[in-house]
């Protein structure tokens, strides 16, 4: 028997999870629409299906903690507190974007909310997370560093180098692997000798666990607990969150390497409707109240799209700015 939701968080917090997950989903689906219209160009990797990981994990961290992620990071930035309209403007390549239109979908960054970047070389952010954790400890700052990456990153050298380093230097890093089972089109058993990712950390003596990444409450509890452990011990910890992306690797990928049966099975585990049902079943909210939340999110994303559309392009002279201090 799962514990009642109210034993985990007060109603307001529980409803916020739903709002954040819905906002993330809505944002991504509108991105797909804007990509089809040609307003968003380049690579676009959508997060639909994985929302419980970003929402649960972010809630389990302190606001002062650093977060780094890979290139499927819109939701992580928005859930952390990035303004949806400035993220959308970034995707449109506009001057009002969160990185002035220079980063795009894969490189969101907002130091005001300690969101230390989306990185698009697989595994590239892991050593940087270790360095941030070192700097924080050196400066006596009360913060840990949470580093998100996909299952594709675990066969990169930086994964192994960074785990070894974080444990060797005893640094407060929480590694969170979002295992959606596919590195682009290669299923994990075709790329990894040991597909049970959390077991790989035994080589570095880093404690690890696996959590259901389709369950926002499970992710929240695991990350909150792990983050406290990292904070208290000053040592790394590792979480593997199993999840699924409902769309292809990017908008350029029709995802033909996955069966519809597999997709349908994971659809039954969709974190949004399942969590909505729990909220209603436990009497925390009503369908009507959730409808109102959803309507609010849609307005916010509408506004984000309008802001992006109406925003100016960067000036040509801008290309030479921000390269050197």
């Amino acid at each position: 028997m799962e514990p009642k939701l109210r034993m985990v968080l007060p109603d307001q917090g529980l409803l916020k999870f739903y709002e954040q997950m819905f906002l993330a989903r809505e944002f991504e689906e509108r991105c797909a629409e804007q990509y089809t219209k040609g307003n968003i160009t380049g690579f676009l990797h959508l997060y639909s299906g994985q929302e419980a990981v970003a929402v649960g994990a972010t809630a389990g961290l302190h606001h002062n903690d650093y977060i780094l992620s890979a290139y499927r990071e819109h939701a992580q930035a928005i859930v952390r507190g990035a303004e949806p309209r400035r993220v959308m403007a970034e995707l449109f390549g506009k001057a009002t974007g969160i990185c002035k239109g220079k980063g795009g979908s894969m490189h969101l960054f907002d130091p005001a909310i300690n969101f230390m970047g989306g990185y698009a070389i697989v595994g590239g952010q892991l050593p940087i997370a270790v360095g941030l954790a070192f700097a924080a400890r050196y400066r006596g700052e009360d913060r840990i560093t949470a580093c998100f990456f996909g299952d594709g990153a675990v066969n990169q050298g930086t994964f192994h180098e960074s785990l070894n380093w974080a444990q060797l230097w005893q640094l407060p890093v929480l590694f969170v692997c979002e295992n959606n089972f596919y590195g682009i089109g290669t299923e994990i058993h075709r790329s990894s000798a040991l597909a049970s990712i959390h077991r790989r950390t035994c080589g570095y003596d880093i404690p690890s666990e696996k959590v259901d990444g389709m369950d926002v409450i499970a992710v929240y509890k695991a990350v909150r607990h792990a983050a406290e452990r990292v904070r208290e011990s000053g040592r790394p910890h590792f979480i593997e969150a199993t999840t699924y992306r409902y769309r292809g690797h990017s908008m350029a990928d029709p995802g033909k390497y996955r069966s519809s049966a597999e997709h349908d099975l994971w659809k039954t585990r969709d974190p949004l409707p399942n969590y909505a049902k729990r909220l209603i079943d436990e009497g925390i909210t009503t369908r009507e109240a959730l409808d109102a939340i959803e309507a609010r999110c849609k307005v916010m994303v509408d506004e984000a799209v309008r802001f992006a559309e109406e925003s100016p392009w960067p000036e040509d002279s801008e290309v030479y700015n921000d390269i050197y201090v």
């Binding site: 002035k100 270790v130 954790a133 070192f134 201090v325």
Partner: protein, 328 residues
Amino acid sequence: MSEMTYRDAINLALKEEMRHNPSVVVLGEDVALYEGSFKVTRGLLAEFGEERVRDTPISENTIIGVSVGAAMGGLRPVAELMTVNFALLAMDQIINHMAKIRSMFGGQTFLPMTVRMPGGGGSQLAAQHSQSLETYFMHCPGLRVLYPSTPADAKGLLKSAIRDNNPVIFLEHELLYNSKEQVPEDPEFLIPIGKADIKRPGEQVTIVSYARMTVLALQAAEELEKEGIFCEVVDLRSLAPLDEGTILGSVRKTGRVVVVEECWRNCGLGAEISSRIFENCFDSLQAPVKRVSGLDVPMPYSRKIEKICIPDKESIAQAVRDVASGRY
């Protein structure tokens, strides 16, 4: 002033900057307990302790990545890669991360970090340990690249690099570590980044060079003077940004120029410098630009044949004679 080696001048720069700013940390393979593969970090661990002087695993890409993160988090890391050859293992973090982060994140962060790399050939270390890879870094926007030829320059430039708020590649030539000269002891002695130095003034032929090639160029110039050929030796010091003004100013004066590079000739920095000279002061030239370069071969071990792969005093002198006499 006191006489010291290139090695000790770099060592002193590190110590002074660590005393100057508690955010400066030194990390790399064997830099702490072993005091550096070339003993450049001697005495650092004893003076500054284990938190600031840190041995790392043999994980070059992550040495740079951790330094990038540390710089983003408010420190001023000075990483040592044991030799420039191993930087090739770290090119992802150097080129895709260190050089890009400020720009791709819209200028919202900066990386005040320095990466020291001993390099160059001439010690019979064969193909994997004798490379001159300076152009690899010069090619990439977002980096500064420095390569001193003298102990005083090494000290002043490294101090500027550590104080600079941009990522700096600081190259050190392995064969210069024991070279000596008078070096200012003033802890505020700095050499600005982006300024070449005319190491020897002259009227007839400009020799543009850097690092160990400058030392050889000066030896060649001394010999040539006896033959009545007066050379101006421009020591680049800063490879990125290049001090185009000093290069072009000298060429406009002499009208004849030899560019000396230790790196491979193909796409070498001599090609870039020659191109800038042709584009900007073609009318001043009395002879085509001549290049003296490393041979386009993987470095052989045997000292008999290694020698012919690297420019030497005689090959530089001969190039100058050719340019001066019109035999080009």
